[in-house]
C-alpha cells in the first residue's frame, strides 16, 4: 500500500508538473469551484453575522417577558399594573439603590430612509427606562449624551447611524407624528441593539399613543439558576399572563427563521452552481486525461498500477479544487468580512444591522465542499484512465 501511495505521489508530481501547459483548462476547475465556495461562504457569512448579532445581545441571567401568545415585541402588550407585579417578584437583581434591575419597554418601528437606497425602511424605536443601559452589556454613549427623561430626545445606535439617513447628532427626526432630537450615539458591542433608536419610555407611550402599555420587560435575575424559581413565582399569580424566556433563548428564536432562510437560499444557489462546477471539473479532467492518455498508458506499460493512476488524477483534481476552495473562501473573507448590511428581521418587522462574518469554520466548510466537488469531478476521469486497456490507449493514439 505504501508503495502504491508512493507511486501515486510520483505520478501526481509529474501531472502537476505539466499543469503549466494546461493552465487555461485547469483554471476552469479553480474558478468554477471558487465561485461555488464564494457564494456559499457569502450566504453563510451573512447568516452567521445575523445570528451572532442577535444572539450576542442575550444573557442567560436575563429574562424577556412578552404578553401571552406573543413571540415578538411587535405583537405584545403588557400593562403598567402587570409590570408592577412582575418587578416586585423575588429573585430579581437590584441596583445600588435597591431598585429592581428591570426595564419595561415600548417598541415601535418608524420609517426612516436608508443611506444606500434612500428608500424608507423600518427602524426600531425603543422606549426605555434608565435601567435599560444596565441591562445591555457593553452599553456606552460614544458621542453626545443620554436623553433626558420627559423630553423628546433620542439616542441612536452606531449601526443605525451608519445605515439610516437623518440620525446624525443634532438632527431632528420625525417619527410617527412626533419630533425627536438626536442627542447621543451609543454602542452595545456590535449587537442588535445598535440598530435601534432609544427614547424615554413614558414620552414614547404618549407620542406613539400606546396608553399605559409596554411591549416587553427585560430584567436581570440574581443569578442564572434562579430562572425556574422566578417562573414558578410568576405562574402563581393569575393576574400575570406573560410569556417569559431567557434572553438568550429569545434571541435564538428570533434569529432562527431568517438564518435558516439565508442558509437555505445559500445552499440552493450553491447547489446549482456546484452542479455546474462538477461538470466543469469533469470536462477539464476528462480533457486532461485525454491529453495525457499516452503518458498514462506508458506509465501503466512500465508497470504502474491502476490504483496509483487513479489516485494521482484524483490528487490533481483535489489540489485544483483546494486552490478553488481557498480562492473562493479567502476572496469572500477579504471582500465581505466585516461588511455591514441591514435586513428585515421578520420576527420584529424591523431592520437589523449586522456584519458579514467569515469565520474560520466557514472557511473550513468551504474547503470541504471544494474537495468534495474535486473528488466527484476527478473520480470518473480517473477511473476511465485506469480502465482503458493499455493496448487500446496506444492504438487510438
Amino acid at each position: 500500500m505504501l508503495a502504491a501511495i508512493k507511486q501515486a505521489l510520483a505520478i501526481a508530481a509529474i501531472n502537476l508538473g505539466s499543469l503549466r501547459n494546461r493552465l487555461g483548462a485547469s483554471s476552469v476547475i479553480v474558478v468554477g469551484i471558487a465561485g461555488v465556495v464564494g457564494v456559499i461562504t457569502a450566504m453563510l457569512a451573512m447568516a452567521e453575522g445575523f445570528q451572532q448579532t442577535l444572539e450576542g445581545a442575550g444573557r442567560t441571567d436575563q429574562v424577556v417577558l412578552l404578553s401571552t401568545g406573543s413571540s415578538d415585541e411587535m405583537s405584545s402588550g403588557i400593562t403598567r399594573d402587570v409590570v408592577d407585579i412582575i418587578t416586585s417578584l423575588p429573585d430579581i437583581a437590584r441596583d445600588a439603590e435597591n431598585t429592581p434591575l428591570a426595564s419595561p419597554e415600548v417598541y415601535v418601528v418608524s420609517n426612516v430612509p436608508k443611506r444606500t437606497t434612500d428608500t424608507d425602511a423600518n427602524m426600531p424605536v425603543r422606549g426605555v427606562t434608565l435601567a435599560a443601559p444596565e441591562l445591555r452589556e457593553d452599553f456606552a454613549i460614544i458621542e453626545g449624551r443620554m436623553f433626558q427623561s420627559g423630553r423628546n430626545e433620542m439616542i441612536v445606535g452606531r449601526s443605525a447611524v451608519e445605515q439610516f439617513k437623518g440620525l446624525d447628532m443634532g438632527s431632528v427626526l420625525s417619527a410617527r407624528g412626533s419630533q425627536w432630537t438626536v442627542v447621543g450615539i451609543f454602542s452595545t458591542g456590535g449587537n442588535v441593539y445598535e440598530s435601534e433608536a432609544w427614547v424615554d419610555a413614558t414620552v414614547a407611550q404618549t407620542a406613539f399613543r400606546r396608553g399605559n402599555v409596554f411591549q416587553s420587560i427585560r430584567l436581570r435575575l440574581e443569578h442564572e439558576d434562579a430562572f425556574d424559581e422566578f417562573i414558578a413565582a410568576l405562574e402563581t399569580d393569575r393576574r400575570v399572563q406573560v410569556n417569559a424566556m431567557r434572553e438568550t433563548d429569545y434571541f435564538t428564536k428570533q434569529s432562527q427563521a431568517l438564518s435558516a432562510t439565508i442558509r437555505g437560499f445559500g445552499f440552493a444557489i450553491g447547489l446549482i452552481m456546484a452542479i455546474g462546477a462538477i461538470f466543469g471539473a469533469l470536462n477539464t479532467m476528462y480533457s486532461a486525461v485525454s491529453a495525457r492518455k499516452v503518458d498514462i498508458a506508458t506509465l501503466r506499460a512500465l508497470g504502474f498500477g491502476s490504483f496509483p493512476v487513479v489516485t494521482s488524477i484524483l490528487l490533481e483534481s483535489l489540489i485544483l479544487a483546494l486552490a478553488g476552495g481557498i480562492l473562493g473562501g479567502l476572496g469572500m473573507y477579504f471582500i465581505l468580512n466585516g461588511y455591514t448590511i441591514s435586513t428585515l428581521n421578520n420576527a420584529t418587522f424591523s431592520q437589523v444591522v449586522f456584519d458579514f462574518m467569515v469565520t474560520p469554520e466557514l472557511l473550513l466548510s468551504g474547503i470541504v465542499i471544494a474537495l468534495l466537488l474535486g473528488l466527484i469531478g476527478g473520480l470518473l476521469p480517473a477511473l476511465r484512465a485506469a480502465r482503458v486497456p493499455i493496448a487500446v490507449a496506444f492504438r487510438d493514439f
Binding site: A3, K6, Q7, A10, I14, G17, S18, N21, V294, D295, T298, L299, R300, A301, L302, G303, F304, G305, S306, F307, P389, I390, A391, F394, R395, F397
Partner: protein, 229 residues
C-alpha cells in the same frame, strides 16, 4: 541450447469492431529463446503489435496460453500484470513515449520508482544506463530538447534500467531517419550481443530487421519464416 523465455501456444486474439468480430491472431504458436533477437515483420494490420502486446503483458489473448519466464501471464489479473511488467519487461515505443515534463535522467529513473531503492541508487543506475546509450551529457535535458535519435536512446535506457529479462520494441526506428535508425539498431544489437538481452522487435524496416538473429513474418494472423509473396 538456450531455454525458451517466451512461449505462445494456440493463441487467438480477436477484437470487436462494432458488430463485427475481427480475428487478429489465429492458433498462433511461438517460442522465443533466451538471448534471441527476434524481428517480427509483416504488413500493417497483420497483428505484429498485438503479438508484442501479448508478450509484454499489455494485452490478453482471447484463447491460448502465453508463458513468459515460466509464468502464465494470460492468467494474471491487471494488478499482477502491472507488477510483472515492472519486474520483467522493458518497452521501447515507436514514438519514444517519454514524459515531456521530466528530464532524460528522470525519465530513465521512472521505472525504478516501482522498485525498492533509495533515490541515490536510482540516480546511480539511471546514470549507468545513460552512459551505455551514450547520453551522459544530455541527462539534464527534457525530451523536447533532444533529437529523435537521442529520445529513442533515452527510451532504450528507460527500458534497460530495471535490467529486464525481455526487451520488447515496437517499431523502434519507425520515426527516425536512416542513419539514426542504423545507430539505434546498432545499439540494440550491442545490447543483445554484449549484454545478452533477449529482444523482440516489431518492424516494417527490412534493414532494421537485418540486425536481428531471427526474423519471423506475420500475415493474416499466422507466422512464417518467410515473407509472403
Amino acid at each position: 541450447m538456450n531455454q525458451p523465455i517466451a512461449t505462445l501456444t494456440d493463441v487467438k486474439k480477436s477484437y470487436r469492431n462494432g458488430r463485427h468480430k475481427v480475428d487478429v491472431l489465429s492458433d498462433l504458436n511461438l517460442e522465443v529463446k533466451q538471448g534471441e533477437f527476434l524481428a517480427l515483420m509483416g504488413p500493417s494490420g497483420s497483428g505484429k503489435s498485438t503479438l508484442l502486446n501479448l508478450l509484454g503483458g499489455m494485452d490478453k489473448p482471447t484463447a491460448g496460453a502465453v508463458e513468459v519466464a515460466g509464468k502464465r501471464i494470460d492468467k494474471m489479473n491487471q494488478t499482477q500484470l502491472a507488477g510483472w511488467r515492472a519486474n520483467h519487461i522493458g518497452v521501447v515505443f515507436q514514438f519514444y513515449n517519454l514524459l515531456p515534463v521530466l528530464s532524460a535522467q528522470k525519465n530513465v529513473e521512472l521505472p525504478l520508482l516501482l522498485h525498492k531503492m533509495s533515490a541515490a541508487e536510482r540516480r546511480k543506475r539511471a546514470a549507468t544506463v545513460l552512459e551505455i546509450v551514450d547520453l551522459t551529457d544530455r541527462a539534464g535535458h527534457r525530451p523536447a530538447e533532444l533529437s529523435g535519435g537521442q529520445q529513442q536512446r533515452v527510451a532504450i535506457a528507460r527500458a534497460l534500467v530495471t535490467d529486464p529479462m525481455l526487451l520488447i520494441c515496437d517499431e523502434p526506428t519507425g520515426d527516425l531517419d536512416r542513419s539514426t535508425a542504423d545507430e539505434i539498431m546498432g545499439l540494440l544489437e550491442t545490447l543483445n550481443r554484449e549484454y545478452g538481452k533477449t529482444i523482440i522487435m516489431v518492424t516494417h524496416d527490412p534493414k532494421a530487421a537485418e540486425h536481428a538473429t531471427h526474423i519471423l513474418y506475420l500475415d493474416k494472423g499466422r507466422l512464417s519464416t518467410e515473407a509472403a509473396a
